[in-house]
């Protein structure tokens, strides 16, 4: 099961970056995000998976689609890329893969170990952790993120308003 999901994630992400039509790239992104949500579900993090679908897949991709439709005429394709930039990109990607892969695999020996047991997350417990002020609880980051969202909203309005 996992392999199917992983494979699909890889394939879709590869197609997302190499396709020439933008809208298709957004669609492939959507599929990739769905695969990610499935992975979360498989790891027993249901809440996170739900949030991923709701925010990421639902909100952001929609935003992307709006932006694409606003800024490009339909049928506008990106041209063939120069080989120079492809080579550079490939070099960077492969280098990253090699180095991080090596770092991961040489350090973490549990490559194919089975999932350890985990008790299911209680929603109430999750909520209290999120809003609590004690040790290891996340009220402060929560408020900070809300401020960030506020700034983001204002920034977005200011930047993109009509002159």
């Amino acid at each position: 099961m996992y392999f199917i999901v992983a494979l699909s994630m890889i394939v879709f992400s590869a197609m997302a970056v190499t396709t020439r039509k933008i809208l298709r790239a957004a669609t492939y992104l959507l599929f990739t995000l769905f695969a990610g949500a499935v992975v979360y579900f498989m790891l027993d993090y249901e809440f996170l998976g739900a949030v991923q679908i709701a925010v990421y897949a639902g909100g952001i991709v929609v935003l992307f689609v709006f932006a694409i439709l606003l800024t490009s005429r339909p049928g506008d394709n990106s041209e063939r890329l120069t080989s120079k930039s492809r080579v550079l990109g490939a070099v960077a990607a492969i280098a990253t893969l090699v180095i991080t892969g090596y770092a991961l695999i040489s350090r973490v020996s549990v490559a194919l170990a089975p999932k350890p047991e985990m008790q299911a997350l209680d929603m109430q417990q999750l909520g209290s952790t999120l809003m609590g002020t004690g040790d290891g609880q996340y009220l402060l980051p929560f408020e900070a993120v809300s401020v960030l969202l506020l700034a983001c909203i204002i920034g977005g309005v200011v930047v993109a308003r009509k002159r």
Binding site: S85, L88, G89, A92, A95, T96, I99, T100, Y102, A103, S106
Partner: protein, 669 residues
């Protein structure tokens, strides 16, 4: 003795220099000149008073019980301690020769100040540009010269020596827009500076061995003469000089340290006093205004070398080799200058060579002085000649200045027959010529005669040589005199711009100096100045034979000049044709200038300066430039990295992060 007076003597000229130098351009010319004269006049009065007190007051610090004059330090301030006990001090020393110079220097300086009020103007009475600057420099020079003669230690003398050189540079190059003046002042400064190198090395050698700079410590002699020096024990100041006694002295190239030190110090004196071969600057120094020539190059600065030898005379007596060197150099210079002076046509050049010759007389006189011959007659004669020479040479120069001012040119082929037009100048100039020729009763007779006596006491070769030079002196001076004041006058002299006698500011100094030249001969100089303070009576020991012979020699010289030059005739031409080579060489001053030009240009510039300049320009500058060029090129190479392409930035960032990650992974293995 009250110390404020000597301090004032030194500080008034210095103050005048700063005042006139800084504020001069804001004052009127007349005010600046008057201030300068007033300052100098005050110094004159104070110096006369000081000298009078020294010679005549009989105070116990000046004259001891045996009637000898002592060296008295008025004040001595430690200025810079090099190491204990060697320190540089600044002070004021009163002793026979410094008191004598305290009379000579302010007198001449004041005469020159007064004279310049009239000289530094053109015919319409308009003052020259830079008049205030001139007076400022004159004050600076007076300060430096006074500081030099009253120095208590040799290093102070060196400091003021250099100051005098600098003032001379400023004054010779006074007309700084004229290239000949500029190069003359440079030449003077460089030649004397080169000589001062020897002077400095000599000072260092001397002070290294004796651990002192002080004159009194150098020269204090036991009262009964030098015979006892080697027996003095090592603990005292005199004992320290025992190091120099010949058996124990360290040797260098065959001469003891003392000889080297003294000869090097004399080299400094050679430069300042224009002895061969460092005499080349003095004729060129005539580019300066004539009052400057009178002050510096006749009466005061050029005698600094003689003064130096006189100051260190007891040391020189210890090492008679150095005295012999001085005698030889002086004798050769005297003859050389006298021969050259016979053929020059520029008044000031003739007088310049005459100065060189007379100063060589003084040097020779010092060189032949020995205590066993009339108690160092040569020393006294030299100082006496210094005194009288200052007076009559200044007179001659100022008179020449009057002539130049009237005619407008230095060349005496334009100056014939002037005795009708300028009587005062004529008579004073005649008195000066008679004095320098050595005719009784003028002052030059007495001083020159004493010199010849001491030469005779040393060796008859020296006596004949110097007598011949005296003959030539009389000859060329009277040649000059006749060519200026006799002969038929030029047509241009009659007419509305006829030359006339100058304003009183110019003629008064001439008259005063002439008067001094007449009577100075009768001063009993030996009473005042002698090398060990003992008064010595000239007249009691006067050698009438020598006197008569020298008088005859002088009259012969004048006679020859009269025959050849009194009226316009062809004798000079015939003479010139008879010895063409000698005449040409003499006219071109024996090509010393060309020799120096050759040496400096071909040898020094070519082999030393040019390679050094090449090295400096290419290698040192090249290295520095290459720093800049390399940096520039490196930055040009790196510039394209900042291309404005965001993706490239990210790429570089990623590669950098990956590199760091790789290093971390490798290190952690």
């Amino acid at each position: 003795m009250d110390i404020t007076l000597p301090i004032l003597i030194l500080t008034i000229p210095l103050f005048m220099f700063f005042l006139l130098g800084l504020l001069g351009m804001k004052m009127s010319h007349k005010l600046a000149g008057t201030l300068g004269c007033l300052g100098m006049g005050t110094v004159l009065v104070l110096s006369y008073y000081t000298a009078y007190a020294y010679f005549f007051s009989g105070a116990p610090e000046f004259v001891n019980a045996a009637g000898e004059r002592l060296q008295y330090i008025v004040f001595d301030q430690s200025w810079l301690t090099l190491y204990n006990p060697l320190e540089i001090r600044l002070g004021f020393l009163l002793d026979p020769i410094s008191a004598m110079m305290l009379i000579v220097i302010p007198t001449i300086s004041f005469m020159v100040h007064l004279y310049s009020m009239g000289y530094m103007r053109d015919h319409h009475g308009v003052f020259e540009h830079g008049f205030q600057r001139f007076y400022a420099f004159l004050s600076l020079f007076s300060f430096s010269m006074l500081g030099l003669v009253v120095a208590t230690n040799i290093f102070q003398m060196y400091i003021f020596w250099e100051l005098v050189g600098a003032s001379s540079y400023l004054l010779i190059g006074f007309y700084y827009t004229r290239p000949s003046a500029v190069s003359a002042s440079k030449k003077a400064f460089i030649v004397t500076r080169f000589a001062d190198l020897g002077f400095l090395i000599g000072i260092l050698i001397l002070s290294f061995y004796t651990e002192t700079f002080n004159f009194i410590e150098f020269t204090s002699v036991p009262v009964d003469g030098l015979a006892n020096v080697s027996q003095v024990d090592l603990g005292t100041a005199e004992g320290v000089r025992n190091i120099f006694s010949t058996s124990a002295a360290p040797l260098f190239m065959g001469g003891s340290v003392l000889t080297w030190a003294l000869v090097l110090i004399f080299m400094g004196g050679m430069g300042k006093s224009a002895m061969l071969p460092l005499h080349i600057w003095l004729p060129d120094a005539m580019e300066g205004p004539t009052p400057v020539s009178a002050l510096i190059h006749a009466a005061t600065m050029v005698v600094a070398g003689v003064y130096l030898v006189a100051r260190l005379f007891p040391l020189y007596l210890m090492e008679t080799t150095s005295l012999e060197i001085i005698t030889v150099v002086g004798a050769i210079t005297a003859l050389y200058a006298a021969i050259v002076a016979c053929t020059q046509i520029d008044i000031k050049r003739v007088l310049a060579f005459s100065t060189i010759s007379q100063i060589a007389f003084m040097m020779v006189s010092l060189g032949v002085a020995r205590p066993e011959f009339h108690e160092g007659l040569g020393y006294m004669a030299s100082m006496f000649h210094l005194f009288t020479h200052a007076m009559f040479k200044a007179l001659l120069f100022l008179g020449a200045g009057a002539l130049i001012h009237a005619i407008g040119s230095n060349d005496y082929t334009e100056m014939h027959g002037l005795r009708k037009y300028m009587p005062v100048t004529h008579w004073t100039f005649l008195i000066g010529c008679l004095a320098i020729a050595g005719i009784i009763p003028f002052s030059g007779f007495f001083s020159k005669d004493e010199i010849l006596s001491s030469c005779l006491g040393y060796s008859w070769v020296a006596y004949l040589w110097m007598s011949f030079v005296a003959f030539l002196t009389a000859f060329y001076m009277f040649r000059l005199y006749y060519l200026i004041f006799w002969w038929k006058e030029h047509k241009t002299h009659e007419g509305h711009h006829a030359p006339h006698d100058q304003p009183w500011t110019m003629t008064l100094p001439l008259v005063i100096l002439a008067a001094i030249s007449c009577v100075a001969g009768f001063i009993p100089f030996g009473n005042f100045v002698s090398w060990n303070g003992h008064p010595y009576d000239f007249m009691a020991h006067f050698d009438w034979n020598v006197a008569t012979i020298s008088l005859i020699v002088a009259i012969l010289g004048i006679g020859l000049a009269t025959v050849m030059y009194r009226k316009e005739n062809s004798l000079p031409e015939k003479f010139r044709k008879a010895v063409p080579a000698l005449w040409t060489w003499s006219y071109h001053r024996f090509y010393w200038d060309e020799l120096y030009q050759f040496i400096t240009h071909k040898i020094i510039f070519g082999s030393i300066c040019r390679p050094l300049a090449w090295f400096d320009r290419h290698i040192i500058d090249g290295t520095m430039d290459s720093f800049a060029t390399v940096t520039n090129k490196a930055s040009d190479a790196i510039k394209p990295l900042q291309s404005g392409q965001i993706q490239m930035y990210v790429w570089y960032y990623l590669i950098g992060a990956l590199a760091l990650g790789t290093i971390t992974v490798i290190c952690l293995i």
